[in-house]
Symmetry: C2
Subunit: 150 residues, 2 copies
């Protein structure tokens, strides 16, 4: 945990940026909620518990900065808010989401199932794949269970 913050600090400094207390607090919130997909407002409210004087604009600016550095990933599930996720250590982050249309939960699958498809894209469509994104909408296992009972 501390080592990950240290690493992010180095990434910032390598580009001439500083790890200010506000930025550190923001990163800590992201680390502590790595499983979730927090909106900027979510992050803001959580950061406020650590650093009550922080402004919403700073959170936005920090999240934007971290996105540029590929420390977090900005994503969009179609409700009007951007959501932010800490990226793993592997340079390429594969984000496969299971979005439940019943309870709204978003689970992640970590496997990468798309490599053979990316090969076909390169060969048949001459498209150079840099990243991808795969979302499934449906009913999650929890709701499936719940529905069975009723």
């Amino acid at each position: 945990m501390e080592t990950r913050i240290e690493k992010i600090k180095q990434q910032l400094q390598a580009q001439g940026y500083k790890l200010t207390p506000q930025r550190e607090a923001t990163v800590r919130v992201l680390l502590e909620n790595e499983e979730d997909h927090l909106s900027a407002e979510d992050v803001f409210m959580l950061v406020k518990e650590i650093a009550p004087e922080i402004g919403l604009a700073t959170v936005y600016r920090t999240l934007e900065l971290l996105t540029e550095l590929h420390v977090v990933e900005k994503m969009n599930f179609g409700d009007g808010v951007a959501r932010y996720d800490l990226r793993g250590d592997n340079s390429k982050h594969h984000h496969h989401h299971l979005i439940c249309v019943q309870c709204g939960s978003v689970d992640e699958i970590m496997e990468d199932w798309l490599l053979p498809l990316e090969h076909r894209l390169e060969q048949e469509y001459h498209f150079t794949v840099l990243d991808h994104r795969l979302d499934f909408q449906g009913i999650c296992h929890r709701c499936n269970e719940k529905n069975k009972k009723s």
Copy 2:
């Protein structure tokens, strides 16, 4: 073309809605630009050429209505605007996009490559798939060609 409008008219009327001139103009714009992924503002500007007195709110309301009827599909590429696509006649529309990070173009692949994956999801994760979405970010064949020359 006319038959597709006729069909949409029937779908509207089946739910008690009317195909007003404004709605028809909006549908025509979508039909004429079936290849593109137009934003509401794009549609608005194009509709204005046919029906100059139309208001932006009407375009939004029409697009929302058509989305409810599954005549168009609303989607989101992460820039802050919703984009709208006419749906094909097949009930399930599979939207695989090749998004070029260099020129911003969005191409579509029509094939459905994900059926085996959906099977695994059902069996290993007990997730019932209703729909999915697959986007690739990368360099399109046109830009690849262009880059080769320079």
